[in-house]
């Protein structure tokens, strides 16, 4: 385990980067059961998606039965953030913190989805379909070598993702003063183009996740990185889903 501690990451979970020592540890350093595999990561992703779906369905039903879901929404958001930070800064805990993150985010997503569905019927299944459709398409594009993630690609995405995060943070702070950045929420042409851009950047973050998972499993990285890889994928998928939901809502509100 001491060796595992050497593994450090930085930045948003969707863009994990490793410092030299642990990532270059070869499979010979671990027994076979301790080594990260592609199938293990895919299975864990499926498990986390299932956990997320279960709590999302529960909040959804609560909202439709007339209960107040505010506590699940904000609790899920706050708790999910804490679980995400724990996973990012202590990756060795990912096998425990990532499922907790999935469960808590499910509470939030279920509530948000139910609110959007009540405003625009049929929007949720469209957003889920487009999210998984994007996942499958980009996975195939990555596996076949159609999209080639390079250092410049990573740098560009890092800058773009950071820019969006900063913009959202400024908007969040402005909301406390009864104001906001208009075009983020607008359903005009600029608002829709902005949402399209954010969806594209969120989608391209999936390619970075695929590359990280592929490279880590090829290098025989430690087993707990399966959970970390699945967590990264889940974070990006949730972000992508929420952005697609917002884009569709903007488009439907124009009708």
């Amino acid at each position: 385990m001491a060796r595992h501690r050497a593994l450090q990451m930085f930045g948003r979970s969707g863009n994990p980067a490793f410092r030299s020592k642990a990532f270059t540890q070869r499979s010979s350093d671990f027994s076979t059961s301790e080594v990260m595999t592609l199938s293990g990561t895919v299975n864990k992703t499926g498990f986390y998606l299932l956990l997320c779906f279960m709590t999302a369905a529960w909040t959804w039903n609560q909202l439709y039965s007339g209960a107040d879901v505010g506590i699940y929404l904000w609790g899920g958001l706050g708790g999910g953030l804490i679980a995400a930070l724990v996973t990012i800064f202590k990756p060795t805990l990912a096998p425990y913190s990532a499922p907790i993150y999935a469960l808590l985010e499910g509470f939030m997503i279920g509530g948000i989805s139910a609110i959007f569905e009540s405003m625009y019927p049929g929007i949720v299944i469209q957003a889920v379909g487009l999210t998984f459709g994007t996942l499958a398409t980009l996975l195939m594009a990555y596996k076949t070598g159609l999209i080639k993630p390079t250092e410049n690609f990573r740098l560009m995405l890092f800058a773009a993702t950071g820019g969006i995060a900063l913009l959202y943070l400024v908007n969040f702070i402005m909301m406390f003063f009864g104001s906001s950045i208009g075009f983020i929420h607008s359903n005009g042409l600029f608002g829709i183009l902005f949402s399209l851009g954010v969806v594209a950047i969120a989608a391209l973050n999936l390619v970075l996740d695929f590359d990280f998972i592929e490279e880590a499993s090829e290098h025989g990285a430690p087993k707990y990185l399966e959970a970390y890889g699945a967590f990264s994928l889940l974070v990006t998928l949730i972000w992508l889903y929420l952005e697609i939901l917002r884009l569709l809502a903007k488009l439907q509100s124009r009708n």
Binding site: A17, V128, A136, K143, E215
Partner: protein, 55 residues
């Protein structure tokens, strides 16, 4: 069941099937044997810092 649910429902099932099936296979050699791959052993921060020092 309306067309919207059917179409996007099938899209979800198909996409998940693709993910769970192809996700378990290695990427093509075209993807793996590149010279300009991302070096995940170096963090982006340290890369940016070393670049800044060079400048």
């Amino acid at each position: 069941m309306d067309f919207n649910t059917l179409f996007f429902g099938l899209m979800i099932i198909g996409s998940l099937a693709v993910f769970f099936y192809f996700g378990k296979y290695r990427a093509s050699s075209k993807q793996r044997n590149r010279t300009d791959k991302i070096d995940w052993t170096v963090s982006l921060w340290s890369k940016l810092r070393s670049k800044k020092k060079k400048d």
